[in-house]
Amino acid sequence: MASSLHTLSIAEAGARLRAGTLTSTALTRASLERIGALDGGLDSFVLVTTERALADAAAADAELKAGIDKGPMHGIPYGLKDIYDTAAIRTTCHSKLRVDNVPQADSVVAARLKDGGGVLLGKLATHEFAIGGPSFDLPFPPARNPWNRDHIPGGSSSGSGAAVAAGFCRMAMGSDTGGSIRGPAAYCGVVGLKPTYGLVSRRGVFPLSYTLDHCGPLARTVEDCALTMQVITAHDPQDPASADVPVPEFTRGLDWGVHGVKIAVPRHFYAQAEGASPEIIAAIDTAAQTWAKLGATVEEITLPDYDLFNACGRIILNAEAYAIHEQDLQTRPLDYARMTHARLVMGGFLSSADLVQAFRLRRELADALNATLARFDAVITASSLSQAPRFSDYRDGYPVAWPVQTMPFNVTGHPAMSVPTGFSTEGLPLSLQIVGRPFDEPMVLRIGAALERALGLADRWPELAPDAAAKAAAS
């Protein structure tokens, strides 16, 4: 375990691959060795695709040697949340209901990463069907937080957050219906980007809620998120939500700073919320001051009450998810984990009027946010009101009071990115989220990159116990 290759970003590793000072095979073997040595204590992977990874890596090495460059992910190992279909590779949704499911075709994102020369390391733990967790009554254990394995890594892209934070891969794909990219990013101290609704194809990703689902990356750095977006973004005529818009140059502006950028802060969203951690609030205040020192204009504003956004999103999610699972909930309820089942059945108790009222409110809330973003380049708020909770904070099967504040931007569809802001006194990551105008990911990334540079947190890594030691500590 002497290798420090895991500390290389996508950009840094890519430069070495192209310079011929590093091979994808060496990079991939280092990842596989690190997973083998350390993931037993974290359970971030539900399947490691060793043969596929080494074959992908060998192909990338041959291509790069021949002068063929397929883009920023060429030769770079990555992971996929286990709701992304992968041809001939098991895709379980972390559920007993799909534990033997082997798709015939890749999801669009998996195909684009494959076509871009990426190296698939395996499939990552998720909350069951991207909704129920943390649960221990499933075919696979829940992923744990690399900064402290007694704490959750967030969800539902739990394995994605944990794997990136642990240095198993530089990037992992997640999905975000109410915060499932940004929550794990926040709790694991990595960057997580929920793109604008419709920017990245959802085809081949098991749906949770059709009008709230987003696919996006979790990565060590803002730049690595931008590089990934360049590979996975494309109009998909077969995804009904896919936006036919020009693909921006996502890395453009990362080094421009924030001079003249206008940032709005709805402080009431998080500072007045029950259970808000003073450390989270202080870290956001510090970030706002940092941007101001760098030349941005930062102004406090008000938005509609957070509870309205949350209720609107929860009702839509419940209704749409229930429609997907209705038959299985009626015929085989005990095959779902207790927590998944408790959440999914809620949609069966809603009326048609409930859903239409939620859709009417959704328009009003999107209009309110768009009015704010007509005057500002971005909105800053908390990703979560607290550091990662402990597993012991959850009572199996009972509703989870997630302290994340991410649902508003699933409701409105705006791009939102969680970035680290520091660490709590307990040594767990703190974060905030940056929300931009629709399809203005470059501005969100630019603001995040400026903060990342100023805070200099990307070089801090969790201390991981080897597999045997972690298991001994747990027993």
């Binding site: 009702i315 009222q357 409110l361």
Partner: protein
């Protein structure tokens, strides 16, 4: 609403939806149901009839 009444309401709603709630999962689902009712009340606000939902769509072809 008293919990017994809420429980009866949940049981009726489950029956209407064709759902069987296993007894050992009932208490947890009742807690979620109470929260669901809070949210459905919260989203009902004064609105004009012309306030259309977000998913009204256009038949103009995309480029």
């Amino acid at each position: 609403m008293p919990d017994d009444d809420l429980k009866q309401e949940l049981d009726a709603a489950a029956q209407k939806a064709g759902l069987t709630i296993p007894p050992e999962r009932h208490d947890a689902i009742l807690v979620s149901y109470k929260d669901l009712k809070r949210m459905t009340a919260l989203i009902r606000q004064p609105r004009a009839a012309a306030a259309e939902p977000s998913n009204v769509y256009s038949l103009v072809p995309r480029r």
